[in-house]
């Protein structure tokens, strides 16, 4: 019995949270699934004439030990095209929310009941009305009992003035926090729970993001209407503290994950620069341009970033050249490119597994911004990463499968929803079992 007790206590300590976040880019408030993911949930834009033409949630098998590895396991259409883009799990991972940038519809899927077969259980069609005029729900960021959603636009002029909006996990509107007049544009929102600090970035309004890209880029006046700021907030009070000039539409934000790493990264799309937001000794922050991304004069358009769990590698996808650049950011103020690899004719989202051994890419940026003709490749590509090399493991052609344009990815685990934490055979090794973060 003593041995069993020791094992029990050891297990309890193993269940304690080792770090702050889930798969590196998820909210720190989510329980983690740290081992071999079973599924990749892919938010997919419908294409007229392709399959049913509707936006959908596509579930792809990602566990090499399962027969559905590298295959489409299920697909749930939401009916119609809404420019689905980003989403996120609720803080208990039971539901996955997915937002449409065009009509601001929000689709809520039950993941917990059957992780292989998500079910659409709720559609929120009142986001703009609830929020007092916010349009384009972008980032869905789980906070305790609620979903924190960053908007991109507003119903009054479809410009970039926007807000943060909160809903309860049950789908009840809680409040709207408009961004300050001096920096009204929004895009991503990320929280450092330990520091009580929240960062927001800035993109463009619906009038720009729903417009055909060649038209937009030829309209000098419209091109002035992109965000050029990032804001540091008091998270608990939801009050802005500092605004930084970050020219050229700073998009995704990633806080460093290791304890005492008090900084975050972002990339500016139009100026192709990597930015660091660093906490200073006095507790305030500074935003510094820390590296170019490719050749900025060629406008590679960096769109997504993914920081490894150990804060060592930052993957940066740029859409126009279809290339990922991996930066060694172990010296965060002096990043160094250690790998540059073309993924496809266009590439957009990049997601790493928690252990950093697997990396997934998708191709679509926005329905009106994707390339045309032969360059309009639409794929999910999975790679292995050994710290130096990306090696292909599987790929799915979303056009051939008549699915649509794949965009954001989230990971799923069967064992998490079954409370199964003991060792399960895994392709990556016995230490990589899915693990609940706040068990015990």
């Amino acid at each position: 019995m003593e041995k069993r007790l020791v094992l029990l206590v050891s297990l309890l300590f193993c269940l304690a949270r080792p770090t702050l976040a889930d798969e590196p880019c998820q909210s720190p408030y989510l329980p983690k699934v740290t081992g071999q993911e079973d599924f990749v949930y892919v938010f997919t834009l419908g294409v007229e004439g392709m399959g049913d033409g509707s936006d959908k949630l596509v579930t792809v098998g990602a566990n090499p030990s399962r027969p559905d590895y590298g295959k489409v396991v299920s697909s749930v259409s939401v009916g119609g095209r809404h420019e689905v883009h980003h989403g996120g799990f609720t803080d208990d991972r039971r539901e996955l929310w997915m937002g449409g940038l065009d009509d601001s519809a929000i689709f809520v899927f039950d993941i917990a009941t059957d992780p292989a077969q998500p079910k659409l259980v709720k559609t929120i069609t009142t986001f703009t009305k609830d929020s007092g005029g916010v349009v384009g729900p972008h980032t869905f960021y789980a906070i305790p009992g609620r979903m924190l959603i960053s908007g991109l636009s507003n119903a009054q002029d479809n410009g970039g003035k926007t807000a943060l909006v909160e809903y309860s996990n049950q789908g009840k509107f809680v409040r709207t926090i408009w961004l300050p007049e001096a920096a009204p544009y929004g895009y991503d929102v990320r929280v450092s729970a330990n520091l009580n600090r929240m960062l927001t970035s800035s993109f463009a309004g619906r009038a720009n993001y729903m417009r055909k890209l060649p038209d937009l880029m030829g309209d000098a006046e419209a091109m002035k209407h992109f965000g050029n700021t990032m804001i540091v907030w008091d998270f608990h009070a939801r009050k802005p503290l500092q605004t930084f000039a970050v020219p050229g539409a700073p998009l995704e934000i990633r806080w460093a994950l290791a304890p005492q790493h008090y900084y975050a990264f972002s990339s500016s799309a139009l100026t192709s620069k990597l930015w660091g937001i660093f906490r200073k000794d006095d507790g305030t922050f500074e935003a510094l341009e820390i590296a170019p991304i490719g050749d900025p004069s060629k406008v590679p358009l960096p769109v997504d970033i993914s920081l490894s769990t150990d804060d060592h590698f930052l993957f940066v996808d740029s859409f126009m050249d279809g290339t990922v650049r991996v930066f060694d950011v172990s010296q965060p103020r002096a990043p160094v490119v250690v790998l540059e690899q073309k993924i496809g004719s266009q590439v957009n989202m990049v997601s790493q597994s928690w252990d950093g051994r697997r990396v997934y890419f998708t191709s679509s940026l926005l329905s009106n911004w994707d390339k045309t003709g032969a360059d309009d490749e639409q794929f999910l590509k999975a790679f292995k990463w050994d710290g130096k090399t990306l090696t292909p493991s599987f790929a799915i052609d979303f056009k051939a499968a008549k699915l649509g344009r794949p965009h954001q990815m989230n990971f799923g685990s069967i064992d998490f929803y079954r409370g199964r934490v003991a060792a399960r055979p895994s392709a990556a090794g016995p230490e990589d079992v899915p693990r609940a973060s706040e068990g015990g």
Binding site: L5, L12, L15, V174, A193, N196, G419, R420, G439, G440
Partner: protein, 227 residues
């Protein structure tokens, strides 16, 4: 050591860890919490006031709030030994309890509630034992449920997930997978704040309670000013 002995040791082990955690984790966040009344805490969700069991086995309301009161509610189970989870919640509640004992004018308006989500093991007697260990100095309730069936709607209403952990063969390990969650509830049963483990700070909880009480006080002129 027999199974019964081991079961009896686990709560003590937990409390030992709790004490260790209390010393190591001195409730010192890396930031200065915003001052009471300088921010808003709008209603997030509504919860009903359920009947549960007190340490004497008597049925009492989980909240049972009078006008002008708020409750700080945390869900725990005594066999939890994840230092950042239930022990941390209990340690924080103890710190709030001590702070309230030093501020009787505020203490009259704040009820602390600890609810077990492990009714099979956390019987009223076990909750009484926990209360004896923690020696509450303010209005601090220790509650459990008569059964899982009566607990289920409480957890669902609050959004507190709990899942039995199982081994590779499907055998139950006697442990529970759960998120650490705590709630600030006003007199109407509206949840005004939800806390994860990263915000378990006595100062934040007290500031939030005062923020809600001040907002409610503004709507009820007869409520005495709170200090």
């Amino acid at each position: 050591m027999g199974p019964r002995t081991a079961r009896r040791l686990l709560p003590l082990l937990t409390l030992g860890l709790l004490c260790a955690f209390s010393v190591a984790h001195a409730d010192a966040p890396l930031f200065t919490p915003p001052a009471p009344g300088t921010y808003e805490l709008p209603p997030i969700q509504h919860v009903a006031d359920y009947e549960l069991l007190d340490p004497h086995g008597a049925r009492v309301r989980l909240l049972g709030l009078a006008p002008g009161q708020v409750a700080l509610v945390s869900f725990v189970y005594q066999r939890c030994s994840d230092g950042s989870a239930c022990p941390a919640a209990l340690a924080t509640w103890k710190r709030v309890d001590e702070a309230l004992a030093a501020r009787p004018a505020l203490a009259r308006h704040v009820r602390l509630v600890t609810v077990s989500f492990d009714p099979e093991n956390d019987t009223p007697e076990r909750m009484a034992e926990l209360a004896r260990h923690l020696r509450p100095r303010s209005d601090w309730r220790f509650l459990t449920a008569p059964s899982q069936a009566e607990l289920r709607p409480v957890l669902a209403d609050y959004g507190q997930d709990v899942l039995p952990l199982v081994g590779a063969g499907g055998e139950r390990l006697g442990l529970l997978q759960h998120l650490t969650k705590a709630f600030l509830v006003d007199e109407r049963g509206d949840v005004r704040a939800i806390y994860g483990s990263s915000f378990l700070s006595a100062q934040i909880l007290l500031n939030d309670a005062q923020t809600v009480l001040a907002a409610e006080s503004a709507a009820r002129p007869r409520t005495a000013a709170l200090r």
